[in-house]
Symmetry: C2
Subunit: 343 residues, 2 copies
């Protein structure tokens, strides 16, 4: 069943996953299409974004945002079209960016809804390169990573929306960009299409040695979005005064408890001390505000226009395919920014 004017398909959290989400984690159900009242707009979802942070919202562990409630609609950013509007600034046919989650229809009072206009060139890009992942890459790399020309920048998930953007900005800033990705196809894409100087397959047995060879002058900026093996390959290569913006740790999101030993904490702390490393976590909309966002939009719009930044999406067809696609995303089986074509 595709999108319809008669029912609202929605995907809800059926139970909190232990480890990786599985077929019991999410449940698709139907409800009536909600009605927009006075001061409200009715939104029909066109594109749904799938992002690793959503795994955190499935758990009730302390996190930086409230968890999704059981039987509640999964949270997520969408590009939607306005169907009816009783809110100034929104007219039927407008495309908007909204946080209405994994469903076909939603009602909003317009708060935190961004109008993208009648006919934006690439609506779904506002979920990726022009949206949260692009902003994450730009603000985190430039404000915390502070890359200088000639330095070496390393980032994992190098063909994902954040990693790909980090690497390309690093190149624009005159840095050596070294990516890490899963498998030869992604690595080739990172080098041939995105312009990374090198990209290492984290599935390679000698990953650590390859990474070292790819960073002959050490590592000045490690943009941390995965944790796990990549982090421990990077640590011995960090240069004095290296910067480590921390925006995610996909490799550890499905942990049900702490991994087996040894305890590598002393290795992290002693590297931070010895090499005078700055390691700083950030949550994009908590840490950065209007100033950084304006700088991002200005830079990124220009770079996309002049072709210095390339963007790849993986389009998933249909809302019903979202749960399985999300599982793939957590396992690195996506290739590019994952978006679901809902309607």
């Amino acid at each position: 069943m595709g999108q319809s004017n008669d029912v609202n398909r929605r995907i809800v959290l059926a139970e909190r996953p232990k480890g990786a989400p599985n077929a019991d984690t999410l449940r698709q159900e139907t409800a009536p299409v909600p009605e927009a009242g006075a001061g409200e707009i009715l939104l029909r979802t066109v594109w749904l974004s799938l992002d690793p942070y959503m795994r955190g919202r499935m758990s009730d562990a302390k996190s930086y945002a409230e968890p999704v409630v059981i039987d509640g609609v999964m949270t997520g950013q969408v590009v939607a079209q306005v169907v009816t509007s009783d809110v100034d600034g929104f007219a039927p046919g407008d495309h908007v960016l909204a946080g209405s989650g994994w469903q076909d229809w939603a009602v909003s009072d317009g708060t935190q809804v961004v109008n993208l206009g009648k006919d934006p060139a690439h609506p779904s890009w506002h979920l990726g390169i022009l949206g949260m992942p692009g902003f994450t890459a730009h603000a985190g790399l430039l404000n915390i990573g502070e890359p200088k020309a000639g330095e070496t920048v390393v980032v994992a998930a190098a063909t994902g929306p954040v990693g790909a953007t980090v690497g390309q900005i690093a190149r624009i800033k005159g840095c050596r960009a070294v990516g890490v990705a899963g498998g030869p196809e992604k690595c080739a894409h990172a080098v041939d299409v995105l312009g990374f100087d090198a990209c290492i397959d984290h599935k390679a047995e000698d990953f650590e040695a390859q990474l070292k060879d790819a960073c002959p002058d050490g590592i000045d900026v490690y943009f941390e979005n995965v944790g796990g093996r990549v982090l421990f390959g990077v640590l011995p290569l960090l240069n004095p005064f290296a910067r480590v913006p921390v925006c995610g740790m996909v490799a550890w999101y499905n942990l049900t408890g702490l991994p087996e030993g040894p305890d590598r904490s002393p290795q992290i702390l002693s590297t931070v001390l010895r090499q005078k490393v700055k390691m700083q976590g950030f949550i994009i909309f908590d840490t950065f505000g209007a100033t950084e966002h304006a700088a991002f939009v200005k830079d990124m719009t220009g770079w996309l226009e002049d072709g210095s930044v390339h963007y790849r999406e993986q389009v998933v067809e249909g809302l019903e395919a979202a749960p399985e696609a999300f599982g793939d995303l957590l396992e690195g089986r996506n290739f590019g920014k994952m978006v679901v074509k809902v309607g």
Copy 2:
């Protein structure tokens, strides 16, 4: 045998310790008193500083400074008196701060030797509150920790020269200062004499619960100088945007390998991410320069004069007692800044 004009007692590194230093690690030997030639000064050691970082110099693992060579004199800062001088700016009788190590006599060309004048009020303080440990506390806390009035600052080794200074500066800046120390006597000193708001005994079985009770508003700055159990007690209490200057990890200095599991790395990284923590290592003389040093000297001189900072030393009598005292220091059996009265 005490200090003599005829021989130079010196303590050399006999072998690299595996784990804690023991009786075989260091060896005392004698050599002729060196002769100062043209362009040189002859220095007689008066006070030798003992500091945790010296443990790192005993190992040949990659570190931020060259290791001491086998059979070489142990490195260390001293306050010495000039006996003969052929260097402008140094006259016999002057007290100086020098890096001449664990020995009675040394010759220098004056490079990196600081003249303290004929009769400084408290010569040995230049190894502590007015020297490297004091500067470490001041520069690290104010420039990386950035404490604001009303915030909570936690520091371990709260009666040691760095921790005691961090806590007292935190109080001066209007923060709640919570110390961690080993045993009730040190904790009482931290609160009663140094003015900490609370001090928790890290040997207590319910240390983590006590720490939580002492920090009802969470922790905004954790000045990291010990690692180990204290770090993991602090992590769950860190507030959003907390700052963690990292200047040492005494609890882990004697490790011969990584500790047993579980691997707590994900806990460190996920806290950094979720709470948007800035964790930054620093090596005092690499990271900070003349500007920060001038600010430190100005502040600290004033605070010592007006009594708002209190300073405690533990004086060890005689160079021959230094090796055992150093072992005590690593185990936290000192009480205050440890200095050796050599001559």
